[in-house]
């Protein structure tokens, strides 16, 4: 930690919390030496160097293990640092997700990045600003209290001619500043003693700064994972079984011998792959390779009825209580009127537009990987286990892929690349084909929700009992991924919960229970159909059920859906969000359904409200139902959104638009279909998503709360979409849909089931 050649100064008088020393004669990393790896020194969270560097030209590089997945966090984090450091936003450069250069701040998941990594980087920047002020004090001949900073230039208050830039002070040299750090990952507290700016002074945070990554992206100059090329690189493809849970019995290498450029057919355990000199040859070889596969070990539920029966009747691994108050069972038995409903939600895809891709270079003593993972350190750990290598000898370098919505939390493809690279002793790039991605991405799990409620004689809900029975996530942390399993690693856990929120806990009922049942899902096989977190995990389904159920009760009691919800809201932010959405959508107060319409189309509106980790969202959907075809068109989505302090309004809006569109797509169209041996929809034709003509108009009200800390905005607004759409369809037609997606055939069947 110490370099004796340095003169040490203690900058934080009194507290002693910030010990700052500068060495310009030698790299600071030597002064703060940590464990050595083949890739240099492991960054230490207690060294400011691990977080920030200022170059000779005054540009500031921020090192973070958080990664840009398309949601704009790179820009938001850059804003936070620019603000705190008082440098122009344009001078910030982000170095993302390189395990050799960054401290593990945990994966980029759950829309928690701005909320957790934001304050960490803000404190690092505040510490750096303080250190720079201290450094400037001597040359400017004024105490720190008399100094101010603007655009990276420190000057004496009242005497702007006396100034010195950050670049002059430290440019090109590293900070040699120790800061305090405690805890790890998301919970890591960085330099809490350093006082950050008062949010009232914010100029860059809160402004719609343009995304840093967009110009190169629209010019075709951006390097995605898919664009990574390293010297000597070969191309690989994996050949996965045509159906889940089957194994290769024999592989006929001769079947690809004639393909020009073929290098090797690889088989390790039940993992089969090919390596070739060109990508085209690898694709051809993977297609041509003759493999005889075993009969699948496990059968899948052959149709939705079997699937939901499985969800309903399988004993849970474990039950979780999300909210519990009073005695719902007793209240239900005494209630004058009771309600009960079951809702179904299918398996769905993340559906990355660009499939998984990675490059791996496996050497004797080290491994380098380029990949689009959401968790570079998680990937590093998984690869270490797969290869039996120490983690320090593995470097994972993040390169952005296409938007992944949770899919690259379990990042499969680098493992394929590692196995193939080890087999040929060269760097290998593996890109999954479309059928690999559709077929083998871990899916968003199917869910079955049971809701019961009791209402007293005054029409008050006195009991609420909600259970989500969801398959667990089997591609969860600590469970080996596809290639690892195929080469013989065994899962040690059963899986984790598919999220918890959205079961009506946002409302205050006298007697209330919201719970989850974790249902096991085909786990022990080597190549199962896996599950993982899909944007706002489990919440679109739970919220679809709970918000539909709220409307079912309101409709029976003939109460307007907004008024009905207000009765049970105690949180001011929830109330304001709900009212803001209703106002923006010009909500007409009346019970649902709307008076019956005569023509062939019926129009309706529906509302839904959810809460997700500190963010409140209310959505009004306006739909048009074609009674002859069963086709539903969502014409408009109005969103009111409160995520605390807004760092970048335009960025938040983009996330909301994305969630609205993805939500409409998922609730109207998307369903993974099986027969007993495999998945049927492995391309975009058989798994269609929403396209331009069907995209709704989107209206957004942002409720900014500068006095609060920033909360997640990446996925909260997905939650209420399905419920709002379901309620709008009911409003239009008087028909209640309890199984998603609302495809024309399903809607038509429901319309026909009701006597006109």
């Amino acid at each position: 930690m110490r370099d004796r050649s340095l003169s040490r100064r203690q900058f934080l008088k009194g507290t002693g919390a910030l010990i700052v020393s500068f060495s310009f004669s030698r790299p600071a990393s030597k002064a703060l030496a940590q464990s050595k790896t083949p890739f240099g020194i492991e960054p230490d969270p207690k060294s400011l160097n691990s977080w920030l560097a200022i170059a000779r030209d005054g540009s500031v590089t921020v090192f973070t293990s958080k990664v840009e997945l398309g949601t704009g966090i790179e820009t938001a984090l850059a804003q936070i640092v620019a603000e705190e450091l008082d440098v122009p936003f344009k001078r910030i450069k982000m170095d993302l997700g390189d395990t050799a250069k960054t401290v593990d701040q945990s994966s980029t998941t759950g829309s928690r990045t701005v909320e957790s990594a934001g304050p960490q980087l803000r404190q690092a920047a505040a510490a750096a600003r303080q250190a720079l002020m201290n450094l400037a004090s001597k040359p400017l001949g004024a105490p720190v209290e008399r100094l101010t900073v603007e655009d990276g230039v420190v000057s004496v208050i009242g005497n702007p001619s006396k100034s010195i830039s950050y670049a002059k002070l430290i440019g090109g040299k590293r900070f040699n500043v120790a800061i305090s750090a405690s805890g790890s990952g998301r919970q890591m507290k960085l330099a809490p003693e350093v006082r950050a700016k008062d949010p009232k002074q914010y100029k860059i945070v809160g402004a719609s700064m343009p995304r840093m990554d967009l110009p190169p992206k629209v010019m075709g100059r951006f390097s995605y994972t898919q664009d990574v090329k390293v010297p000597g690189m070969l191309h690989g493809r994996v050949v996965r079984p045509p159906v889940v849970t089957s194994k290769p019995l024999s592989v006929d290498e001769d079947s690809v011998k004639q393909i020009p450029g073929i290098v090797k057919v690889v088989q390790e355990g039940s993992l089969v792959g090919v390596v070739a000199k060109t990508e085209w040859a690898a694709i051809q070889a993977a297609k041509a390779l003759k493999v005889t596969w075993s009969e699948p070990a496990t059968k899948l539920p052959a149709n939705p009825d079997e699937l939901y029966a499985l969800l309903k009747n399988t004993k849970s691994l474990r039950d979780q209580v999300i909210a519990e108050k009073g005695n719902p069972a007793a209240a239900l038995s005494q209630a004058g009127k009771t309600f009960e409903a079951i809702y179904h939600w299918p398996f769905q895809l993340h559906g990355m537009i660009g499939p998984s891709c990675a490059v791996a270079d496996v050497r004797k003593d080290r491994v380098t990987i380029w990949t689009g993972t959401q968790g570079p350190f998680r990937t590093r750990k998984a690869i270490a286990e797969l290869l039996g290598f120490p983690e320090e000898n593995i470097r994972v370098i993040y390169a952005e892929g296409s938007g992944c919505y949770g899919r690259l939390s379990p990042d499969d493809v680098p493992e394929d690349a590692v196995v193939l690279s080890r087999a040929v002793g060269r760097p290998v790039r593996v890109q999954w084909m479309r059928e690999d991605e559709h077929g083998w991405e871990p899916k968003g799990p199917a869910q079955l929700m049971l809701a019961r409620a009791g209402v007293d004689a005054q029409g008050k809900v006195v009991a609420w009992d909600f259970t989500d029975r969801s398959f667990v996530r089997t591609a969860a942390e600590g469970i080996p991924l596809l290639a690892s399993r195929q080469v013989g690693l065994k899962p040690k856990r059963e899986g984790t919960a598919n999220g918890t929120q959205g079961g009506g806990e946002v409302y205050a009922f006298e007697n209330q229970k919201v719970g989850n049942a974790l249902i096991p899902w085909m786990h022990p096989d080597e190549t199962p159909l896996r599950t993982c977190n899909l944007r706002a995990p489990g919440q679109p389904a739970r919220s679809f059920a709970s918000e539909s159920f709220m409307d079912e009760i309101a409709s029976e009691l003939k109460v307007d859906p907004v008024q009905f919800r207000l009765r049970y809201l105690t949180n001011k932010r929830a109330t304001e969000t709900l009212l803001a959405a209703a106002k923006k959508a010009q909500w007409q107060e009346r019970p649902s359904p709307a008076p019956a319409s005569s023509g062939s189309t019926a129009k309706g509106r529906g509302i839904a409200l959810t809460h997700r980790t500190g963010t409140f969202v209310a959505i009004v959907a306006e739909v048009e139902v074609d009674k002859l075809s069963g086709n539903v068109r969502v014409n408009r989505i109005t969103v009111a959104h409160d995520c605390g302090l807004i760092v970048n309004p335009n960025g938040v809006q983009a996330q909301i638009e994305g969630n609205a569109i993805q939500g409409v797509s998922r609730v109207l169209m998307e369903e993974v279909q099986f027969d007993s041996s495999g998945m049927k929809n492995v391309d975009w034709k058989s798994y269609p998503i929403l396209t331009f003509p069907d995209v709704p108009d989107i209206e957004i009200v942002l409720l900014n709360r500068p006095e609060m800390r920033a909360q997640g905005a990446g996925e909260a607004s997905l939650g209420p979409v399905p419920g709002a759409v379901a309620n709008a369809i009911f409003d239009a037609t008087g028909v209640r849909l309890r199984e998603a997606p609302f495809t024309p055939s399903r809607v038509l069947a429901a319309l026909k089931a009701v006597p006109a």
């Binding site: 398309g70 629209v218 075709g220 060109t278 296409s402 998503i689 396209t691 108009d697």
Partner: protein, 154 residues
């Protein structure tokens, strides 16, 4: 393997390749052009779109031999950082894109639309882009960007 001569972004490029290889892999791997993307390889998503003789094609499903001696334009060929195409400028101004993986196809399809229909209606824009998939939900901004580009001069 065969020597194939291509005209890409106004320059003649000769590659030694399997004539059955799809154009996309030649552009990306042999010519180092990364604008066109692999999305599906099935002509279903539009990520790989390039312009051939004034029309959009799916380079993932067009054999390189077919592209011989035709005029190919890729995203890199329509503008540069110093001289961006109006569509590129408009996409930045509208902040139209999240992950951006679909943007190559969106911009190339919009270019062909604007070349033929300089002042398209919103419906025409949506129709021109209907076969291009975006999973991030950047659609409203993309439509706005194309409209904005239509009002800009090259």
């Amino acid at each position: 393997m065969a020597r194939i001569s291509l005209n890409v972004n106004g320059k003649t490029r000769v590659v030694n390749t399997d004539p059955g290889s799809m154009l996309l892999y030649v552009l990306r791997d042999d010519l180092g052009l990364k604008g066109a993307k692999f999305g599906c390889g099935l002509a279903q998503c539009g990520a790989c779109t390039v312009i051939m003789d004034g029309k959009t094609i799916r380079s993932c499903s067009t054999p390189v031999s077919v592209a011989q001696n035709r005029n190919i334009i890729t995203l890199e060929g329509i503008g540069s950082v110093a001289r961006p195409h109006p569509l590129q400028k408009a996409f930045i101004e509208e902040q139209a894109g999240q992950c951006g993986y679909c943007l190559n196809g969106m911009i190339m399809a919009a270019k062909v639309l604007l070349d033929k229909t300089p002042n398209p209606t919103e419906t025409e824009i949506k129709k021109a882009l209907v076969a291009n998939l975006c999973r991030c939900g950047s659609h409203p901004r993309i439509v706005r960007a194309v409209k904005r580009a239509a009002t800009m001069k090259a």
